[in-house]
């Protein structure tokens, strides 16, 4: 502890660059042990994972495709967190967002894309936002613990959507729990098609327009939180609720607002998965992306640029992991989930793990510098 009291302040690149990289390395080292324990070569696995994520054009497209989901869910966690709320409900909010856009897309059959696309986006955002606002209001007014309520809302959303998918929304003649196909007007264009229109040829992948929407959202969230009055109020309520009350900031309204935005962002995840690739609503399309958003937000230090970078990392892990599971049959999708959990643990909860060592290193370097200078 005394070492920390004499702590040198670490430069920004060390806290937001070096420490996360060290944590990531530690998570990979433990994952390597697991891979080794089930009888595979960790180095070979890492090589396959990296190649699967970045080795060729299609792989990179897929990596960014998955990253799109994580940008949305990561932003959803971070906006709520700025207001001091722990939003574990990204999963359910994304599910309801998917429902919202499916209802709009199928309901507006026959309309032109210029109307259907914005309406579907709005549908996704509104459904997601509404699903997040209820737990926020319950926390602010009734004192229900938002962590528990949002988790319960995840379960309820999953049951609700799967009920609709075997009932009202079920595709006629289909056996699986999925809706009818969206009309083509509600399909988001693929990036490789858009670039081909500009005369640039890249390999085909599911990467679609929603990636740009996600980047725009990251920028807008930054502007909203850092540069607007409402964003300021969110930060004050999150940082010091007592001060916020004295300053006359309406607490309930601010809490609900931050969760509305968070839920809306999580709801937009369906843009990528459903309007970008599946073109129909399917049960469980959220696949745990909402939970990964927690790690993305923490690893990205709740800053939009950090969140985009962390989202790309998890996108690479997803895509590389899928390729790895394909190449090495002993390594299953389950193991990749465990690796994600380890990354979440090391990057999200163990952020101080290497701080003392790095500080000691910087102190020694500083002392050396003084001795020589």
């Amino acid at each position: 502890m005394t070492a920390e009291r004499r702590a040198v302040a670490l430069p920004a690149w060390a806290t937001s660059g070096l420490l996360p990289v060290l944590n990531l390395a530690a998570a990979f080292a433990v994952s390597g042990l697991v891979v080794w324990a089930i009888g595979e070569s960790p180095l070979e696995a890492l090589k396959l994972l990296l190649y699967g994520a970045f080795g060729y054009g299609e792989a990179i497209g897929y990596t960014f495709y998955y990253a799109t989901n994580f940008i949305f869910t990561g932003l959803a966690v971070s906006v709520a967190f700025k207001c001091g709320l722990f939003n574990i409900g990204g999963e359910g909010q994304a599910m309801m967002g998917g429902l919202g856009l499916a209802v709009v897309a199928i309901g507006l059959d026959g309309w032109p894309p210029a109307l259907v696309l914005p309406a579907a986006v709005l549908g996704a955002a509104i459904f997601g936002a509404a699903w997040a606002a209820i737990p926020a209001w319950l926390q602010a007014r009734r004192g229900s613990h938002i962590v528990i309520t949002t988790i319960m809302f995840n379960f309820i959303a999953a049951s609700l959507v799967s009920w609709l998918l075997v009932g009202v929304l079920k595709a006629p003649g289909s056996q699986s729990p999925e809706s009818a196909d969206f009309p083509e007007a509600a399909w988001l264009p693929k990036i490789h098609d858009l670039l081909a229109g500009l005369g640039i040829q890249i390999e085909g992948s599911p990467l679609n327009l929603s990636f740009l929407v996600a980047l725009a959202c990251a920028g807008l969230v930054w502007f909203f939180i850092e540069r607007t009055k409402w964003g300021y109020e969110i930060r004050v309520v999150g940082g010091n609720p007592g001060a916020a009350r004295f300053a006359g900031i309406p607490i309930t309204r601010t809490l609900v607002l931050s969760m509305l935005i968070a839920g809306g962002l999580a709801g937009l995840m369906g843009l990528n998965e459903l309007m970008g690739l599946q073109h129909r609503l399917i049960a469980n399309f959220t696949m745990g992306y909402g939970f990964v958003g927690i790690a993305v937000a923490f690893m990205g230090r709740s800053h939009p640029i950090g969140i985009v970078l962390a989202a790309i990392l998890f996108g690479a892990l997803y895509q590389g992991g899928a390729e790895l599971a394909f190449e090495m049959p002993t390594i299953s999708r389950d193991l990749i989930i465990a690796v994600q959990g380890l990354v979440i643990l090391f990057a999200g909860a163990l952020e101080h793990l290497f701080r003392p060592q790095v500080q000691a290193l910087f102190r020694r370097l500083g002392a050396l510098g003084e001795a020589h200078g």
Partner: protein, 324 residues
């Protein structure tokens, strides 16, 4: 009338059985939070223990070996969460969520590696499962009116883990309110500075709370895979860790009210099982997606409507550092 009475008893019987993992996990969360550590990783520890217990029971053929292994695995996970929360001063909610995800992936991976059964463990039978204990005199007392069926259906005929769960409640109340350790534990969760000033280690108390937490979650997981079920199945904890946490809050961080909250949750769960495929007057058959929603909706209503603003242990979730 007699039929209705028997129906209610059968419902209570399955409520008690379904409440078993909830009671154990809720008490686990209670010890942790009373010492100052928030634990949303109950789910993961239960799942890990369920896997370890089922795997060990399948290999050794003994449910008791399963129990030991399950408890061991759960203690290891609890200490990991303790280390992150206590020494590393990490975010306790992220740590708990991460442990849930790690176990959800690791357990089926290991199950596949060892048993090649698509992420499950072999079906347990005979001594590899905890069998129902039939209490003495069931035949004699069972024939008495009113009391007889109550004794035979509800009190007798559970497995040993259920009885351990029920016993854990008075033990927890005694430990927390009647022992020096309990007093210090509660103090560590309310005012760790005072504990530290008295020369008692806050870290030590919190680690001990996490070991108890591990034992209880281990029992809960063991109950899932070797008592209620007969194998480890992917995601078999199905949100029970979170329901337990809600029951603990509903029980205001106190052992006996928590028990009743868990019994209520168990009852709702038993009811949803009973309602599946049953034609109700006026409403008709409720789709099963709605009946499985019942416990979750119930939780939200309970937390919003009946709990109100209640104080969690004051230092719960806040890492302790001597420098303040």
């Amino acid at each position: 009338m007699a039929d209705l009475y028997l129906d209610i008893l059968i419902l209570l019987d399955s409520a008690l059985r379904l409440a078993t993992p909830l009671v154990l996990a809720a008490l686990a969360g209670l010890y942790a939070e009373r010492s100052g550590i928030v634990d949303i990783g109950l789910e993961g520890k239960m799942l890990g223990a369920a896997f370890a217990a089922a795997a060990a029971a399948a290999v050794t053929g003994s449910a008791w070996m399963g129990l030991l292994t399950g408890v061991g695995a759960s203690i290891a996970l609890a200490l990991l969460h303790g280390w992150v929360s206590i020494h590393q001063r990490g975010n306790q909610i992220v740590s708990g969520a991460a442990i849930n995800i790690i176990v959800a992936g690791l357990a089926p991976t290991l199950a596949n590696h060892w048993f090649h059964l698509n992420g499950q463990t072999p079906l347990l039978s005979g001594d590899a499962r905890f069998q129902a204990l039939i209490w003495p005199g069931v035949d004699a007392i069972g024939n008495l009116p009113v009391i007889g069926p109550l004794y035979a259906e509800v009190i007798s005929g559970h497995n040993v883990v259920t009885y351990i769960a029920i016993l854990s409640v008075p033990i927890a109340a005694w430990v927390l309110y009647r022992t020096r350790f309990g007093l210090r534990l509660r103090a560590a969760g309310e005012n760790p500075e005072a504990v530290d000033t008295a020369g008692i280690s806050v870290y030590g108390l919190r680690y001990r709370a996490m070991i108890i937490n591990g034992v209880l979650c281990g029992l809960a997981g063991t109950a899932l895979s070797t008592g209620l079920g007969a194998a480890f199945v992917r995601d078999m904890s199905a949100g029970r860790g979170f329901l337990a946490l809600a029951a603990m809050i509903f029980g205001r961080w106190k052992p006996v009210p928590t028990l009743f909250a868990c019994l209520l949750f168990g009852f709702v769960d038993a009811l949803q099982g009973r309602l599946q495929g049953v034609e109700l007057p006026l409403i008709g058959e409720i789709p099963f997606q709605f009946t499985i929603m019942l416990p979750y909706i119930f939780t939200v209503i309970i937390l919003a409507g009946f709990v109100g603003r209640i104080a969690a242990p004051r230092a719960s979730g806040i890492p302790y550092s001597k420098e303040g």
